[in-house]
């Protein structure tokens, strides 16, 4: 479980996070949503340890990050997996090389053990016959799968995803969402996803945090988000015509 207690973060005069508290449970897909500029990415980077909050604490299964030594922080980071918006695969390595990279870097496994593990995770993300291809030779959806495979190859306790389905067609986006959801439950990982994709919210949002202007505006599940009367949330969620119609139908059905 990840617990966040009153974190603040500023860049010069700009106060980006103004005191956010929440917790992210194990085995659940936790979503952070909000408009561009609401502080989602800064919040996620604080969770990842890439930014140090000016105030407040973040603890991972009881271990407060800011109180750990540099080496303990590095060890903790090895328990984290991250799927970047642009996949962030290493261009100079093949698919197999990318997935094998953390194993080669941090374990003492033999080449054949690493190969077995790589084959297993690539199969788990439904990626076959791509081991020797370079990232530039595969599609965006496949790159996301490789990124997920790389993120889970070390059996992480925490999985972070920054807009994992941006730039993907709706069908592939749903496949990626479901894959992350399945992996979260299968390996009992604490997953935090930064997104503004409402399909993801509806599909896999077991816990949702809505950020607005650096503050937590609303918190709940994908079932509750339909019922909320919070104006900021409804404005955000039902900004598209499709969702407006869905909401209208829901209200009519309820009445």
């Amino acid at each position: 479980m990840i617990e966040v207690d009153d974190i603040h973060k500023s860049f010069g005069e700009s106060h980006v996070l103004k005191g956010i508290s929440s917790h992210f449970e194990k085995g659940k897909t936790n979503l952070i949503i909000g408009q561009s500029g609401s502080g989602k990415t800064v919040f996620l980077k604080c969770l990842l340890g890439l930014f140090t909050p000016d105030e407040g604490t973040i603890s991972y299964d009881g271990k407060i990050y800011s109180e750990l030594s540099a080496s303990e922080q590095r060890n903790l980071r090895q328990e984290m997996g991250m799927v970047f918006q642009g996949s962030a695969l290493f261009d100079s390595m093949t698919v197999e090389g990318n997935v094998m990279f953390p194993l080669g870097m941090f374990t003492k496994q033999s080449k054949s053990e690493m190969q077995d593990r790589v084959d297993f995770v690539l199969k788990r993300v439904n990626l076959v016959d791509a081991n020797n291809k370079y990232p530039s030779e595969i599609s965006g959806g496949m790159q996301k799968r490789v990124a997920i495979a790389r993120a889970i190859v070390m059996n992480p306790k925490y999985l972070f995803c920054d807009e994992p389905n941006s730039g993907l067609d709706p069908k592939t986006a749903i496949l990626i969402d479901n894959l992350i959801h399945e992996i979260t439950q299968e390996y009992n990982i604490t997953t935090v996803i930064n997104t503004h994709d409402m399909n993801s919210v509806m599909e896999i949002g077991e816990k949702i945090i809505f950020l607005k202007n650096g503050l937590k505006e609303w918190e709940g599940s994908n079932k509750e988000i339909f019922k909320t009367d919070n104006e900021a949330v409804t404005d955000f969620v039902y900004s598209s015509e499709l969702f407006k119609k869905v909401r209208q139908m829901y209200i009519e059905e309820r009445n």
Partner: protein, 245 residues
């Protein structure tokens, strides 16, 4: 003020490069790859430039000897001194700042833009050690490049002098051996090691700490080349004063 902050950040970066080393089995591969890219991959252009620079020095010297009392072996002497003292270590380093430096900045800068460096950091890898340390070690082989540049430069001078009809081979070789001070070669190698560290680290700094997108990668490469050249010129002056002054 920005310049002072940048200089401070540069030295902090250097300190970080030597912290928490990457696993040796991986580092070994990275170093060999960088030697291939940065050192071996630059041999062609270095040989080409050195040959013609040596030739031009030889011709220029010959054309400026109008007094018949000046011995023709001066052509070999001047070529040797110019090539060993300046053209091989300094001129070649400016070329390398363009070729290798821009490669280093753009490759690290692209990794920054595409979040590959963030990916390394999140995995718990010391990204500065992983990216910059192999380049520094690879560039320690740079004096070998300079040695070849010296040899080829002098050979270029001999070719231009002899086949251009400016000097006999015997006069040229006699000039090469005249008043030879071995420390000049040592001085040249000391300079080349210092320049190698500059070429490896300043472009890395500009690539690693760049912000923005693809356009900024290009701008960072240009800035890195300018600053690497400026620092090489200044350090060249200081080292010359210290070692030969």
């Amino acid at each position: 003020m920005n310049y002072i902050a940048s200089i401070g950040s540069y030295f902090i970066m250097i300190k970080e490069v030597f912290k928490k080393p990457t696993k040796w089995s991986i580092m070994k591969t990275l170093i060999l790859k960088e030697i291939d890219e940065l050192v071996y991959g630059s041999m062609g252009i270095i040989i080409f430039i050195s040959f013609f620079i040596g030739g031009v020095v030889s011709i220029q010297t010959a054309l400026n000897i109008t007094n018949p009392l000046i011995p023709r072996n001066l052509i070999g002497f001047a070529t040797r001194q110019s090539v060993i003292l300046e053209f091989a270590p300094t001129f070649t380093s400016i070329i390398m700042a363009g070729k290798v430096g821009s490669y280093i900045t753009s490759s690290i800068g692209t990794m920054r833009v595409t979040e590959q460096i963030d990916a390394l950091e999140i995995m718990g890898v010391n990204s500065l050690n992983y990216l910059v340390f192999p380049k520094i070690i690879a560039m320690l082989f740079y004096p070998f490049v300079i040695a070849i540049a010296m040899y080829v430069g002098i050979f270029g001078g001999w070719t231009a002098g002899v086949f251009g009809g400016f000097s006999s081979s015997a006069d040229f070789v006699e000039g090469l051996q005249l008043d030879f001070i071995p420390f000049h070669v040592t001085y040249s190698f000391i300079k080349s090691i210092v320049f190698a560290l500059i070429i490896a680290t300043i472009p890395s700094f500009h690539g690693y700490y760049m912000k923005g997108g693809a356009l900024e990668v290009g701008k960072a490469s240009t800035t890195a080349f300018v600053w690497t050249s400026v620092v090489i010129i200044i350090i060249n002056y200081i080292l010359t004063q210290l070692l030969l002054g």
